[in-house]
Subunit: 375 residues, 4 copies
């Protein structure tokens, strides 16, 4: 795909561009959700069922969208969710994404399964706020080594993926021999980031997943909250628990030392039929109150969605697929423009609702469309 | 587009005609809503979710649809909402619209952004009830000058647009260089109405909005209710606050001297995701009670919609896009026919519900379709 | 359209046949609803939103579907609603329909606007239960003459249409010069039934409606319940009030001497947006209790629909358009088969619900689908 | 249709294969539901309206999906529902299905209307748990003979179909002369299983149903619960009542000696408009409590659906059409793979919800989507 130098005007246009011009398997991989893709679709549809009640004449000349995440100030409450193998979208991969995040002054969560290593990102974006996405490996030595590497490279948080006792069932990728060939080619050409060192001497075999050594396989059904306790005891970096959808698990996350939770359903790629994240958010926020920070990812496609998520209690949102669309279009500049669009759309939404700062964005601004089915 | 001399039978037919025969950019401009166009679509769909409970055998031989708006009697409760640059639809522009309104005996709100000036309308339709649509300019001298001009030209009200702290995000118009060229051509050929005098010496630049001098730019995020207080103190004309969607802002409008409010979401062109106007109407009516008059615009496409709006508490409705469709079809005659159709459809609806005058149209005539989901 | 001699298996197949083979204008005329056709569509869709709770092992060997309507026994609770100008469907017109009804042992309501006269039906189907559909003419001499003629021809009831203060707005028929030509040709060729005698010396003019003499025009906005009182005083035939959709009008019908009411919205051809008849039925049944009989028409397309209507309190249903489809297909035999299909489908439904007679069909058999949205 | 030797990855793929490659009449026969197919469609759609609330970090390394059905242990709670004339799908017919069930360690219900006899299945799958599906024949001698044969062939339960007072109205099969010819050819070529002996000397005539001797015709409207009492008194095999959709009939089933009930609507082939089975399940479970076992069939198309059914109180599910799709694709192996897919999907779902055994699957894991319409 030839790289573009102009900007597009909305996330939807970037998505269309990617679908038309991206590598077919990369598109399938990024676009897919699990099973019937009910949750994938609802992640977006559920936002559309919420209405915003605007307020007028509030002097919204200046709009402050800065916020602090676990004590680190960022310039906007729109951060970058971890997504795998960004070289499928652009050869600069995670480095381009991190540079855009640094430039915009926001937080990036680096995927466990990156083409670029955490050390490279640490070196190339020294001023960008970065968290490392971490899976709970059966071999805790690997886990700990990754944490130490993150600490050394000045990452400021560990975002632990807890919602993967199994791989999700991405049906659109079934029966495609070439998928594996393509993955291998991407990894052979662009590297396997910080995981590469643990793969030495292993044959990754016919599929990426089955070929991984048991120690670092990406799903581990045996993990429990004890693992989080252990991790908590091993590092002073804040732990962000990613993948909470219920009040019960939110409370457990707090009780096991999480500094924050991300309401996430893995982009609709874990268990199909689980709630959309914007559906699950209020329950988690209510359970947690002010005890730790709550973020959300999944289905955000414009700044109005961001506003709705913030109104329902998220301190920030994390965006996944749209970042890839921007990356695929024009590398760092594309990612930067995605963030710019979202920021300007958020600010526009704040102006229409009379909000001058993020703290003005209250739950009362948002109602479900069923609110208007009563007369 | 060649002008038509015959009449069409429904607003939908006028719309189809316009879409097939109107200038492409004019169509895009008039048809567009902001962002995903959820609100644009819901403005119409929400009417369809309401059911009317008819009544029979009430002797409805005569149907009185006259009503007084702020003390001025009109012959029908169906008025004309302000829409910009009507020369895009027809060279006679706002003059044709005003003549049709005068002939029908209804009220027209002249857009701030008209091709024809308020003075011209004052002179050519001396007997028509007219209100001036006013934006709250940063430079109050301009504002006041416009008010004085409206007073001198016998306008009877100032309809203040309060819901534009930002421009809406009309995505369908993105990336269209030719859009600006087209606007400029329209203004160059047909004038910029009463705003023209304030533009002297300014270069309107590459886009209409960015080229406007700061003093008269059409969005001003700094405005507050104090501006309305000030305006109230400067004129004895009634102030109609246009763009209210919540009980809270309705109360503020009253407290700051409004004589009436228009429940409006700017035709779905402001912030997407806000409630449809017919959804927001009951909340505003309940808050206001009998203190000031309440009107509504947005999504009205036939006389049944008018009836529903009146039943839910609007004293009159304002119609935007359909007026443009009639204007585009056959100028004054087309606008007149649009109003005739709506009036006759309203009367038909009143006959089927046993209503002889507008005061007979009570809330109990209308229920949400969900009412029938209980058995 | 060449006539068919074989039978079709469902009402849907007859409808498809008619749409493919019927005269285009006849199709438009019969299929149309008013305005946006919301009510037309909901008449059918609302049935589909109801669920039936079956019961098993009740010994349903024999199923008694006889019922008495105003003291007259019929062999099935499925009767024929009045529909206009049946010669548009078949040259035998209302005579074929009446013969099928007589043969099936059910009640037919003869339209005010028939091609065949009430006297002809009286003579040719002496044993069939027939009611005359009557509009409330401004000239009561005409009304009374029709009632006397009905009495003389052994009609057993007067079904008074009360829901036509205006003509409905059948948009699909707009702007069709040829429509009027077609109507005239039908009337010229096949007669105008019992109304023909009152038309002598009148020119029916360019359209059927506008050409009618004022005395017999089919809509009269001046009518009130006093007219029903007067009619009640002039005949000993039972008066069935057709066109009730609310509890209030149902009570008024009783208070003014109705022996029965038909919950009807004129087949979705009166005011669009009114409730579907199966939606309105429970409210009317609740208001009336056992005081008079309640029937329903509108949207019935199979025997399951009939069962639902009976469960919700209708003593019988009246079927309109499907009768025309059968008539168009194969005249008397087609109408007969439509009734046979509905009867056998009703009996099948009764077997699946353990109902042996119509009195076993209780409200508890039917729930709205939203009942299952609670867990 | 040539037989396939490879495996497909989801039930949907097997269904697509069957629709593309199966015999046209077999497809119509298996795919059809009655009347408008509302219930057929809702059986599947209703599952999609349920959301699963996942739980994380529960150590789900091992997942026990064994369960006992009426005292017999099976290796998975996914059993095989009775479906007729499996030779339409594959020449090995019920034998292939039974072998796959035996191999998987699950229960198969053999259809009354099989091509292979119960004795053949008893002999060829001696270790498989099998129940016989039984209709309540007017001639109880036939009924009793079938029960005795089932006892002798080591069947462990009698699943009595009680929801067939009439044949359902499979509209898609109407007017198809060739349908009957096809059935006859199937029966002539592959036998009529254990019913064959009762047909001696009978001419099955133009259609299968009408040609059956009265004694064994498959619908009997005269049956009552007394028949179940009688059956209960004649055999010590447990009686499973199949076809319950209401609390009332569930209680009657218990009172008349049922050991279990199957919530079923005959795959949407009985009375259209009845509730989807997953809709009806909670009402039945609530009425029955722990008194007897409750199962459910209808609409299950993946392991997530299985989980939802178990969460709402089913002890096991029965799968019909998908088994046929597997059978049509590759005989025993296809059926086996269908069961394998469902089992692995169920286990995946359990892992995502933190369930280690079936008893961990509680009602609180499932909510209706309308739960999220409140904010």
């Amino acid at each position: 795909m030839s790289r573009m130098t102009y900007k597009l005007a909305s996330l939807a246009e970037y998505e269309d561009f990617f679908k038309q011009r991206g590598h077919e398997i990369a598109c399938l991989y990024y676009e897919s959700g699990s099973d019937e893709e009910i949750t994938l679709k609802q992640n977006m549809e559920s936002f559309k069922r919420l209405r915003i009640k605007p307020r007028v004449l509030q002097n919204v000349t200046s709009n402050d969208v800065t916020v602090s995440l676990l004590g680190q100030k960022v310039d906007l409450p729109i951060c970058i969710a971890p997504t795998a193998l960004q070289a499928m979208a652009h050869p600069d991969a995670e480095v381009a994404t991190a540079k855009a995040a640094e430039k915009m002054g926001t937080c990036m969560v680096l995927s466990q399964h990156a083409n670029k290593s955490l050390e490279e990102l640490g070196a190339k974006t020294p001023n960008g706020l970065k968290w490392l996405n971490l899976y709970l490996f059966p071999n805790r030595t690997v886990t700990l080594d990754l944490v130490r590497r993150a600490e050394r490279s000045n990452f400021k948080g560990i975002a632990v993926t807890i919602d993967n006792p199994s791989l999700g069932n991405l049906k659109r990728l079934h029966n495609q021999e070439e998928t594996t060939v393509y993955y291998r080619r991407i990894i052979d050409s662009h590297g396997y980031g910080h995981l590469e060192k643990y793969l030495k001497g292993y044959d990754m075999g016919p599929t990426l997943q089955s070929g991984l050594p048991r120690d670092i396989k990406i799903t581990d059904p045996s993990a429990t909250w004890e693992y989080v306790d252990w991790l908590r005891s091993k590092t002073s970096l804040p732990i962000i628990v990613k993948g909470v959808l219920t009040a019960e698990d939110a409370m457990l996350a707090i009780n096991h030392g999480a500094s924050a939770v991300i309401v996430s359903n893995h982009g609709g790629r874990g268990l199909d039929s689980v709630p959309a994240t914007i559906e699950a958010l209020p329950e988690v926020v209510k359970a947690i109150g002010d005890r730790v920070e709550v973020y959300v990812d999944g289905g955000i496609r414009n700044g109005i969605d961001v506003f709705k998520a913030l109104a329902l209690g998220a301190k920030a949102v994390f965006v996944g697929r749209p970042i890839l669309y921007g990356l695929a279009h024009s590398g760092e500049e594309g990612v930067h423009n995605i963030l710019e669009i979202l920021k300007s759309e958020l600010i526009r939404t704040m102006r229409f609702t009379g909000c001058r700062s993020l703290s003005d964005i209250k739950p009362s601004f948002v109602v479900h469309q069923s609110h208007y089915a009563k007369l």
